[in-house]
Symmetry: C2
Subunit: 337 residues, 2 copies
DNA sequence: TTGAAAGCGGTACCAT
DNA sequence: ATGGTACCGCTTTCAA
């Protein structure tokens, strides 16, 4: 059996109130003598207060829920580390929920976290959620911070990259290197950040008076295999492109694999660029040109933000923290005439 | 304010007991009429029962704690997915704790999980834990399953790969390909699986009458950078080796980076092998020869095991589930004479 | 300095 | 088919 506060109180011949005081380090209200005795008992009997019982009365929990789209995309573990770092500095723990790229699972996790007295939620919303769900969370008045995402319809606290600008700069870089036929492997367009990237692509093309060709655009789901398959699809639609811009590095790497299998040289025959700058980007050959997100830092900021909200330092809280992208030029793009 | 079971009872003009019955889907004890009315109210007021209050009385929680060494090693997310898959099939959720390769953090998480009425812990123990801690967990009688690890001193439920055999086969493969000077980048030797791999290396050498040369052995911490640095260290000690065997793929990839930077060709000048077969292994060039762990399946088995324990199906529970390794031959090893 | 007792939001047993 | 109520393990007044 687990030893409870009652047990300790009994053994120490004091009330539970007194034990509670020493457990919670209340400086006053307990005699030096008693405190010492209780402390010893706690140690001896290995007493651990039940966070559940405590949570029931305090309604607080030092636990922050984190919902991400997919654990196996290295981008998210890196973000998670950033969040965990500052959470731990402040004594908070993280419950990590992997939504598996599924809207339903995300919603289920939202419920799950709500039921468990987490003291806040950091939500990397992938597929745009319905207003119903959004309303529900916001009505629960649980501190909520969006990371790498942003609901279009509500005013929320958000930490994200300027995705549109990022993709714009990336495509512009391609254009300045002489590319005129730019294929695009997009993600699901009901994802906020994907949609922004898409707009960045479109904007760049139109700013440079280049036509939008739907044959040049295919969709994937942000995993390697989809990049691989997308290239096949692309070639079945047209052969008239000199570079493939991908909405993330994973798909870019998949694309490069497919091109290699087809005997097409990167970047000699066709160039490829990615997005995110995960570690693998510099490990593949040719090294991938991509745009970096300061993901660890974004994680840290999101954690800071939610802790500020939780602890009521409203003066320090801004609505949005928007990060700037950073173009990382490596070896996967050829300059052409 | 959050609406409670009491609120619903009041509005519905019934007792909390009745509401509790319908919330928990007790088929009997509630009239058709009443049930319908309450269900409507629950929906209308968006009532979510507090898992915390419930946990306090039932002492159960449908939450399994999972402790892993390092989220940024793709090996662990893959394992986590396997665990989550079957956990969800059975209605359980996972609290993921990243021990950050630190013994202290692992111990802290163990405490954390203990305090929170998780109904079981799956523990990927990295640095061998002390008996004190081990005793403490086992005394708490919380269902506990070790994955990819195994305490040496106690009888526990464990799911793991036969690491020794795996490394033995890998090294044997090198020997059969003519390699006689085999460098070894190990991990921390107080890790069970690392230690087993080390033994596999030693055993293979001695079975083939090859000497153990300590200059050929350097230690890293399972991250890319360590593989990179280890190669530098290796060359400062000796130049007399034809292949580098690494205790995981990440370090192997780091090693290949360093070799490339030094202008040394893999596998022409020096061969490299890894361990794990994470996705990246087949993405780098040359493609990495390595030994695969059926990690997703291992995750699934660990989850099955702990759920069997939790739900008291003791007949189905064996002490250890040991998986067989699978040599994956790619392009990073040269056959020499 | 210390203790008694009222909850927190549920569950489950015992009556009715 | 329902309701009343005693807990679960803790925190937090309020009194002593």
């Amino acid at each position: 059996m687990k030893v409870t506060i009652k047990d300790i109180a009994e053994i120490a011949n004091v009330s539970v109130a007194t034990v509670s005081r020493v457990v919670n380090n209340k400086s006053k209200g307990v005699g030096e003598e008693t405190r010492k005795r209780i402390l010893e008992l706690i140690d001896q009997y290995d007493f651990q207060p039940s966070a559940v019982a405590r949570g029931l009365v305090t309604k607080k929990s030092k636990i922050i829920g984190l919902i991400i789209p997919d654990l196996t995309n290295p981008f998210y573990p890196k973000m998670t580390k950033g969040i965990e770092d500052v959470a731990h500095e402040h004594g908070y723990n993280i419950i990590l929920c992997d939504g598996n790229n599924s809207k339903e699972k995300e919603a289920a996790y939202l419920d799950f976290l709500n039921e468990h007295y987490v003291c806040g939620i950091i939500y990397n919303n992938f597929h745009t959620i319905s207003n119903t769900i959004l309303n529900k969370i916001m009505k629960s008045s649980l501190p909520l911070v969006f990371i790498d995402s942003k609901p279009e319809t509500k005013r929320c606290k958000c930490v994200y990259l300027d995705n549109r600008k990022a993709m714009y700069e990336l495509v512009e870089y391609l254009i300045l290197n002489g590319h005129r036929k730019i294929a695009f492997i997009t993600g699901p367009l009901d994802s906020y950040s994907t949609n922004e990237r898409y707009k960045g692509y479109i904007n760049a093309l139109s700013d440079y008076d280049m036509p939008i060709d739907s044959d040049l655009i295919v969709q994937g789901d942000y995993i390697i295999k989809d990049g691989y398959n997308a290239v096949g699809k692309l070639f079945s639609q047209t052969k008239d492109f000199t570079v493939i811009a991908c909405c993330n590095d994973l798909m870019a790497i998949g694309a490069m694999e497919k091109l290699e299998d087809m005997g097409i040289d990167v970047p000699e025959d066709i160039s490829v660029v990615g997005f995110d700058d995960i570690d693998i980007a510099s490990l593949v050959r040719p090294k991938l040109t991509t745009v970096a997100q300061p993901i660890h830092e974004m994680g840290r900021e999101a954690a800071n933000m939610i802790i500020n909200i939780i602890e009521g330092r409203s003066n320090k809280i801004q609505d949005n923290i928007i990060f700037k992208p950073n173009l990382v030029i490596r070896d996967s793009v050829k300059k052409i005439n």
